[in-house]
């Protein structure tokens, strides 16, 4: 099972590291390349990116236990291709937030565009608001927690990992799902091909409770979530009907 988000006081730096000075990077005055180069060079500590103004590719490819705060709306791929880092977006994030995340976490204090946590292999992506379509597409082991509603095709082709939706799920939830597990707190507009509702167990309730608490989602009742998994019928090609293949 995937890791749970750490409490925020555990997130800054490694244990025993001397407190690093907080770095402020003003996106209004710096290129994306300059910002990322500075962030990628930090071994630990904290950095704030001010005036992001929807800039794409901020805090991409980080590989150290740094805390990065993007202080405003971020564009595409915020925190993408990251390892170890703890990234917060104080605002909405564009398409592909936390894309291919390997470890660490990305927390969006707003809503997120298409393909949140696309193909993420580890770590946690938390979106306080809602997500547009294809959230958790091709998920490969990470945890995606959505406080609000999820758009169409959430969990499309998701291979492993967990998606928690605090609000309602849009049409075609979990289409072509593999082994990822989806939990929905609200209503489901419709299931995709090969997705099916499964009874929840006490283990699911405990898991969702810990996950929701870790994400600060107090609006959902763990005992009332709907669990969606794969029927595994599309695992063999002879079972594909022409419309699904």
């Amino acid at each position: 099972m995937t890791s749970l988000p750490r409490q925020s006081d555990q997130r800054a730096g490694r244990q025993g590291d001397p407190p690093a000075a907080e770095v402020t990077l003003d996106a209004a005055a710096l290129s994306t390349r300059e910002i990322n180069r500075s962030l990628q060079a930090l071994p630990y500590g904290r950095a704030v990116v001010t005036n992001p103004d929807g800039r794409h590719n901020l805090a991409v490819g980080l590989d150290a236990p740094v805390r990065v705060e993007i202080d405003g709306p971020a564009g595409f791929y915020a925190g993408g291709l990251g390892k170890q880092a703890h990234i917060t977006v104080n605002g909405p994030a564009g398409c592909g937030v936390g894309e291919n995340l390997m470890s660490g976490d990305v927390h969006v204090r707003g809503s997120a565009g298409r393909s949140a946590a696309a193909s993420a292999r580890g770590g946690v992506v938390v979106v306080d608001g809602g997500c547009s379509s294809r959230a958790g597409i091709s998920l490969k082991g990470a945890t995606l927690a959505i406080g609000g509603d999820a758009g169409a095709l959430c969990g499309l082709l998701a291979q492993s990992g967990v998606i928690l939706i605090g609000g309602d799920a849009g049409p075609c939830l979990g289409d072509s799902l593999y082994e990822a597990v989806l939990y929905v707190g609200g209503k489901i507009a419709g299931l995709g091909a090969d997705a099916v509702v499964e009874e929840i167990t006490q283990h699911d309730v405990t898991f969702v409770k810990i996950l929701a608490e870790g994400c600060g989602f107090d609006h959902l009742s763990p005992a009332d979530v709907t669990k969606v998994v794969s029927t595994r019928r599309l695992y063999n090609m002879q079972n594909h009907d022409h419309g699904n293949y």
């Binding site: 990628q40 590719n57 590989d63 291709l81 592909g96 490969k140 082709l157 593999y178 082994e179």
Partner: protein
């Protein structure tokens, strides 16, 4: 016998009636299409004169990724090894290809299944693919690569996702792809995190940011809507465009895709080169073409049409031992082909995992039939022979670099090839659609 309902067509209909599904197979298109064979090279005469002796050298050095990358890929020869996944190929086959590329100063490419450790270790210059499936995609592997190739499509199946049947989804393949063992894997045909030309532009920037703008970004397209795809890729910021023609091989795809989608490599090469010229980036963005390249003559003709390099897939596998009657232990493996319903010389059964020569398999017993050392030597010999044939032809045209070959060095044997390659029909000055 009916031409419309030939014995082969009848057998195909019967097979579909039996299966209720379509045929999946490996390698490339079997049908005859206009190809580099339909072009001839106009070697030198009185003026220009051919190069002479060993003093007048013909350069084969090839540089890819000069547009934005801090460290372009520098190759000794203009022939690279195409992306073929660990999964469709055995670890030993990937290792042998990597070693052969390193021995000949060229690059090899990962595939739809991530970077196998054997591959990184054995390859001097390794291109890392970023495919719609993103199986095993790892930023550490990305940073260890010498270039990254965003794959939009393959010539064998433009518009389709890749297939890997359950027999080949063994423990290690499943682990690398994060899939359950033994399932028939169907991969996405669209990237999960972007759509359209603007999305591609941001994706390219993301990969550059993650690699500090050090390595080149290639964009690979399956040759179908070549002019617009090349334009979009250039505008999105690609350093290198890889165009894979319809003859291009595959590890497994539906026969209906392989035979009926895309355009021939010949037509695609000229279209892509013309598009780069029209955008005035022909000296900035490099063109790599693939799909049915077999000989130095094919390489020379592709370069003359405007490619900077070619990639080989199936031909490299054949050099490795594909379709051979014996394996590296010297044993006759004809029975293995018979078990697959085929014979050496006609095998396209890569999708089954039962490769009689240990190349397209994940079965350890079969994989042992390929010795990576011997295999690497054969592929390296083949690549050297291709490079030598290419320089022989370039020298005969009076060129001191293979990259100096141009369309003036070509004529076509058929009207179709003349129209596609936009070179004159042999013995005339007529270029269909261009001159009267």
């Amino acid at each position: 016998m009916s031409h419309t309902f030939s014995p082969e067509v009848i057998a195909e209909i019967q097979e579909r009636a039996r299966l209720g599904g379509c045929e999946v197979r490996g390698l490339g298109a079997k049908r005859a299409v206009p190809s580099f064979d339909d072009l001839l090279i106009l070697s030198a005469g009185i003026s220009p004169a051919p190069l002479e002796g060993t003093q007048e050298r013909c350069d084969t050095r090839t540089v890819l990724g000069t547009r934005h990358a801090e460290e372009p890929v520098v190759l000794d020869i203009p022939i690279t090894i195409a992306g073929m996944s660990f999964g469709s190929l055995s670890a030993g086959a990937k290792e042998a290809l990597g070693r052969a590329a390193a021995m000949t100063g060229t690059s090899t490419t990962t595939g739809d299944g991530g970077m196998a450790p054997e591959e990184r270790d054995s390859s001097k210059t390794l291109v890392y693919q970023c495919l719609p499936s993103r199986y095993g995609f790892d930023p550490d592997d990305l940073r260890s690569a010498d270039a990254v190739e965003i794959v939009l499509g393959q010539g064998a199946a433009p518009g389709g996702g890749s297939v890997l049947l359950g027999q080949k989804v063994t423990t290690s393949v499943a682990f690398m792809r994060d899939l359950p063992e033994g399932l028939d894997q169907r991969a996405a045909s669209r990237h999960p995190d972007w759509t359209g030309p603007d999305g591609l532009r941001v994706k390219i920037e993301e990969l550059r940011e993650a690699t500090s703008w050090r390595i080149p970004v290639y964009v690979k397209i399956g040759a179908a809507r070549v002019a617009s795809d090349v334009r979009h890729a250039v505008e999105a910021g690609a350093d290198v465009i890889v165009v894979d023609g319809m003859q291009g091989g595959t590890g497994a795809a539906q026969d209906v895709f392989i035979e009926h989608t895309g355009i021939p490599t010949l037509a695609a090469t000229r279209m892509a080169a013309d598009t780069l010229r029209r955008l005035s980036v022909e000296n900035e963005v490099q063109l790599v073409i693939s799909g049915g390249v077999r000989s130095g003559a094919d390489v020379a003709k592709a370069l003359a049409l405007g490619a900077d390099a070619v990639s080989v897939g199936v031909a490299a596998l054949i050099a490795l031992g594909c379709n051979s009657t014996s394996d590296d232990t010297g044993a006759d493996v004809s029975l293995g082909y018979r078990a697959l319903g085929t014979v050496p010389g006609s095998c396209t059964a890569c999708h089954t995992g039962g490769c009689p020569v240990g190349i397209a398999t994940q079965d350890d017993m079969l994989a042992d039939r390929l010795d990576p050392d011997f295999g690497a030597e054969r592929v390296a010999n083949y690549l050297r022979a291709l490079a030598m044939e290419t320089t022989m032809l370039a020298r005969a045209c009076g060129k001191s670099s293979v990259h100096d070959l141009d369309t003036g060095d070509l004529v076509a044997l058929t009207v179709e090839a003349a129209a596609m390659a936009r070179v004159p029909l042999a013995g005339t000055s007529w270029i269909p659609g261009v001159t009267d």
